[in-house]
């Protein structure tokens, strides 16, 4: 293709957008609305995912050692656990440290534990973190069968429930996003199809005078791209500003409840980029599948 011809296709595409003013407006609006919904959902889903990950990462196994265990055998056990696959880290918590931690956790009520220092009833413990939060129960099982392990605790029930919940959230989010993306594509394809039906004659004549299929497609390609990108710019602007304010206002209060939402930069810009990409893609795709039908002469 000559450079001149590319210029012609771009001019032609833009001219057609202006010529089909209302149709262009309708197409752009449908991209805008769908991408806005998709964008809100994407922000939500990614944040839920992030929160789930944060919560998941707090999951750890507490291994309480038999009271007969001495320092040497404790570190031997520590090495043994460290050698397990899936284990990220093992921290030795001697009983004195355990008591201090416990006091801290109890806050003001911790004073009731004063005086126990000399006759500490707590066993020595190991805190185990796994590489994958989901492998916590298998790792726990292996540790449970080791010698010198008296008891272990990872909140089996709670952890399993947590994982079912986060998994469900992710799946629902995924299905929603795919569903919305497809809806958007068909909306756009249909709107563009309407503008093309009106231009059927034009395509027919182009074919009769010997235009190649790509010569006919290019202006439509340009139109689809422009419509998709223009349709995406508005939701991206709304979402970026909206999220910026939301983050600034909500971040501190949510953080206090251990929920952390993703910071504006670079998260929102990444989502914006994704939306622009989706907009461009569905615009082009929509106009390409619509024009395809009329190219068979």
């Amino acid at each position: 293709m000559k450079i001149n011809t590319l210029g012609r296709h771009i001019r032609e595409g833009l001219k057609n957008l202006a010529r089909n003013g209302w149709m262009t407006f309708a197409s752009i609006s449908s991209v805008t609305i769908t991408l806005l919904i998709l964008g809100v959902f994407l922000l939500l889903a990614l944040n839920v995912n992030h929160m789930a990950k944060t919560v998941e990462n707090q999951v750890e196994i507490r291994v309480f050692l038999d009271i007969t265990a001495d320092q040497a055998s404790a570190s031997a056990l520590e090495k043994k656990i460290e050698a397990l696959p899936d284990v990220e880290s093992v921290v030795y918590v001697p009983k004195d440290q355990g008591l201090i931690d416990l006091k801290e956790q109890m806050g003001e009520n911790g004073q009731f534990l004063n005086g126990l220092e000399d006759e500490n009833p707590l066993p020595d413990a190991l805190t185990v973190k796994t590489k994958q939060p989901q492998s916590v129960s298998t790792v726990a099982e292996k540790i449970g069968s080791m010698e010198l392990v008296d008891e272990l605790d990872y909140g089996a029930e709670t952890v399993n429930q947590l994982f079912t919940w986060t998994k469900m959230m992710r799946n629902v989010g995924f299905v929603f996003i795919i569903g919305l993306a497809f809806t958007a594509m068909f909306l756009i394809a249909n709107t563009i199809k309407l503008t093309i039906v009106a231009r059927r004659r034009e395509i027919e004549i182009m074919k009769l005078v010997g235009a190649t299929n790509w010569f006919i497609r290019w202006p439509f390609f340009v139109e689809g791209l422009v419509m998709g990108v223009m349709g995406a710019v508005i939701p991206v602007a709304i979402l970026t500003t909206g999220y910026y304010y939301l983050y600034n206002n909500l971040h501190s209060s949510l953080y206090a409840q251990m929920f952390e939402i993703l910071p504006t930069n670079p998260f929102v810009f990444q989502v914006g980029g994704i939306l622009l990409g989706i907009g461009a893609f569905i615009g082009i795709w929509g106009s390409m599948i619509s024009v395809r039908k009329f190219l068979r002469v």
């Binding site: 074919k207 009769l208 005078v209 002469v297």
Partner: protein, 228 residues
């Protein structure tokens, strides 16, 4: 220039439009294709510019084997011919000039060549002064002259016309026929399907009559031969 060997065309609904057509049209010929409605004239014409594909047989046009070419070679075939229709097929949003220039843009002609060449062919059909008008502002005869200008702008060796005077009154039809005659005199082959008895009978060119999908007559200096 155009050759058909045992060409058959059966449509998906079972209609046998053409049954074993053999014909040879030489460069520079002027051929009228006549026959009753539904006898296969249109199919015969459509096969030539590859709007339809033959069910059986071979068709050669210029250097192409039209019956065998692939989808993506169709544009090349169409560029070597000019096609004209009863309903003109002009683009309503484009001016007269743009409609003709369009055929040159499509084959990616040099921009500098387009303007002088378009004005030249508009001069041939005597519509230079209406270059900036829209097709809707012209009469039927003028619109067909624009279609003719568009058909010849890329210097095709063959002009194929399907009822070009079908929508025109007798006087206007003659104006158009004069242009076809001029184009033919410059060496371009013309193949024209028509129902216009008067024109066929007074021009006395080669006449191919198609009846029930077969060639019934093929005469040099022939006559229309039907009572409409």
């Amino acid at each position: 220039m155009i050759e058909m060997y045992d060409v058959w065309k059966t449509y998906p609904n079972g209609t046998n439009a053409l049954k074993g057509i053999n014909v040879k049209i030489n460069k520079g010929d002027f051929v009228f294709v006549v026959g009753p409605s539904g006898a296969g004239k249109s199919t015969f014409i459509k096969l030539m510019y590859r709007e339809e594909k033959p069910t059986k047989g071979q068709i050669f046009l210029n250097s192409f084997n039209v019956s065998r070419i692939k989808e993506r070679q169709i544009p090349a075939v169409r560029r070597s011919i000019g096609v004209i229709f009863q309903d003109f097929k002009l683009l309503p949003n484009l001016t007269v000039f743009e409609n003709v220039a369009f055929a040159m843009e499509v084959i990616e002609s040099n921009k500098k060549e387009i303007k002088p060449r378009v004005m030249e062919v508009l001069g041939l059909v005597k519509l230079k002064h209406k270059a900036k008008m829209l097709p809707s502002e012209l009469s039927g005869g003028e619109q067909q002259r624009i279609a003719l200008a568009r058909a010849i702008v890329n210097n095709p060796g063959i002009i194929i016309a399907d009822e070009p005077t079908g929508n025109l009154d007798p006087d206007t039809s003659w104006e158009i026929m004069k242009l076809f005659d001029e184009i033919n005199l410059s060496g371009t082959t013309v193949v024209m399907a028509t129902h216009n008895r008067e024109i066929v009978n007074s021009m006395r060119r080669r006449v191919i009559a198609i009846e029930a999908g077969e060639i019934a007559r093929d005469e040099q200096r022939g006559e229309y031969g039907y009572e409409d």
